[in-house]
Symmetry: C2
Subunit: 144 residues, 2 copies
């Protein structure tokens, strides 16, 4: 009925390597970074293939595609749902360890919308940028 019959599940070296490499890291690499990682194993793999496989793997729920505000796509080898923090300086993305408060209970009134859910992103300054910062004159440039 739905278009969920997913014929595209053929196992290839490319797909395998992409998944394995992505799961090795705890960072949340961009497609291009995944491409660089995969190239170390398959030198002539193409960027297009990386995109196609990342898309497919995320459709199958094996990885997670992160579309964070104002940045390119990033991919997460851990498929379970969790929140992320991104650094406003260097854009790196990390997992949030725990959240106090109850974001799960947020309910919303939104002019006739059938609200399906929400997405929360945290932002701040990562440890390494905090260090660099003490000694220089940079200032936040966030506009929520």
């Amino acid at each position: 009925m739905t278009e969920n019959m997913n014929k595209n599940t053929r196992q290839t070296r490319q797909k395998r390597v992409i998944l394995v490499e992505l799961r090795k890291v705890t960072s949340h690499p961009t497609a291009d970074e995944v491409y660089q990682m995969a190239r170390k194993k398959i030198p002539n793999i193409s960027l297009g293939t990386v995109y196609r496989n990342l898309e497919q793997l995320s459709e199958q729920g094996k990885i997670r595609k992160l579309e964070l505000a104002g940045s390119q796509m990033r991919f997460d080898g851990r498929a379970y749902s969790h929140h992320h923090v991104s650094c406003v300086r260097c854009s790196r993305v990390d997992d949030v360890i725990s959240v106090r408060g109850n974001p799960g209970s947020i309910d919303v009134e939104a002019g006739g919308y059938q609200v399906l859910g929400h997405r929360i992103e945290f932002y701040g300054v990562c440890p390494s940028c905090q260090k660099k910062e003490s000694a220089d004159e940079r200032s936040p440039r966030m506009h929520l």
Copy 2:
């Protein structure tokens, strides 16, 4: 000290029109939509100018730049902070009327990050897409 001396505050017809037109609408237009709106007043205004001014206005806090997950930039003529809902079908963006629960109190533990804040986006199906939907076989395709 900081680079916040903002010399770029010269008043021009382009900037004025962009702000006025953006404030006229309650939608959350993309840069290109703002461009189309502005062109009705200044036929030969350029897209580049629109981008530059939108950026500037948002830096000055006169408008708000929305960088929603997985979509192009949108702009909001209302500068105060409020949440948004976007339609998973047609991508339109509306204001959230009210939020129950207490997202403001969310606190987070995030490996050494200095957490500055968070961003919440709601998503769902807008009224007009709900109508279209009753009679057809489309299904959600959200991967959070």
